[in-house]
């Protein structure tokens, strides 16, 4: 086809429109991701956790978490003797800078905490404006353009996983690094964990090693009596963990 002046004039606007569509399409970096094919959770292997705080630092860097607030944090438990109902729990700066030396008596261990991405989450049920929800792939998310900052969800979460971001005045929480897992990456916390104590789990993927692990280990979720359908599984968890 010979390109005459007339044809060029017709082609140029068409090309411009097409280019605009191509450009608008690029930020969507997960075109092959299908919501219905995933059901996300996490596995935490407590005996492997060394309390180094790498996960907390990585989470802050990955998600711009304001100082003094945490989407994930590490707790250090000290159970003096038989009284597992009364553990001493501390989490200085969320464990971001590690932990000071502690008692060598009794039972001591670290427990990393994060949003449990409950299937029947109490936090999403109380939202008056539909700003927080369980996504079709099982991640509890906050629509910050819709959130009023009313704090109902902060109170409703039995695990204390939500806070109000002081800059945006909207509710904020762990997104299970949704921007990473939809691109085929693991979460920032699991990516940097030096001992493999944290592992992202896709419960709908039959080839995910989580299934073999769940079959062969005694795992628990936090506060099972609350029937939240928590999907963060803890291996080797002591009865004192709250």
């Amino acid at each position: 086809m010979e390109i005459t002046r007339r044809r060029l004039l017709v082609l140029l606007p068409a090309a411009a429109v097409a280019w605009k569509y191509i450009q608008a399409g690029t930020p969507e970096a997960s075109p092959n991701y299908k919501l219905s094919e995933h059901w996300w959770g996490m596995l935490i292997d407590i005996p492997k956790c060394i309390g180094c705080g790498s996960c907390v630092r990585a989470c802050s860097a990955e998600n711009d978490v304001p100082d003094g607030y945490f989407r994930t944090w590490i707790e250090r438990y000290h159970v003096p003797d038989w009284a597992i109902e009364c553990p001493e729990v501390e989490s200085p700066n969320g464990g971001k800078d590690g932990f000071p030396p502690n008692q060598s008596t009794g039972k001591n261990f670290f427990v990393p905490k994060l949003c449990n991405h409950c299937a029947d989450s109490p936090c999403t049920q109380v939202c008056p404006v539909g700003a927080t929800f369980v996504s079709p792939d099982g991640v509890v998310l906050v629509d910050k353009n819709y959130c009023l900052g009313c704090r109902y969800c902060v109170q409703a979460c039995p695990y204390g996983c939500r806070f109000i971001n002081p800059k945006t005045n909207t509710a904020e929480k762990c997104t299970l690094c949704y921007h990473r897992i939809t691109k085929g990456l693991t979460t920032a916390c699991a990516e940097v964990c030096p001992t493999g104590a944290r592992q992202l789990a896709d419960l709908k993927n039959p080839s995910d090693p989580i299934h073999e692990f769940l079959k062969t280990h005694s795992v628990q979720v936090l506060k099972p009596h609350m029937a939240t359908g928590a999907k963060v599984f803890y291996n080797g968890m002591d009865g004192s963990v709250r």
Binding site: I50, S54, A58, F133, S135, A188, V192, P194
Partner: protein, 172 residues
Amino acid sequence: MFKDTEHLIRLAAVLILAVVAFVALRAAVVPKSFGQYGHYRANAIGEIAARPVAHAGHEVCEGCHTDVVDQKKLGRHIVVPCEACHGAQAKHTDDPATIKPPKLDTAVVCSRCHEANSAKPKAFPQVVTADHAQGLACDTCHQPHRPKIEENKTEEAAASKPAVKSATGGKK
């Protein structure tokens, strides 16, 4: 049959107008994707997923830094992902020529994991750095990517090894 119905017609007109106004206003105000999956804005999912990544992931690092991977393979730090110590490096992997990761202070980085603490698993290698290193930086003796000190390659380091005072060498 219907006598004096004018006031009813007026009332009906007002009611219909109100319903139309409500429907029109609702259609204008509620985003199209609201209710697609549930009582929320489905487009929020895509917006949250569009956030840029800060940690590149160790597979990306290993694509270029093969020499480091070869070193790590010889020791136990092969399981430690790059960004556990080096921090978020997606900016560096996007533009390796201009954005360089800062040099690490081993005295800080190593002790994050290896400082003795009774809550750490017993099998995990731990030291009381004040006793063990006595002020020396860890990389005076240890190569961070392959931390175990082997006789043949560390004569130089062994010469500068501090005289360890405590009975355990600070090790737990």
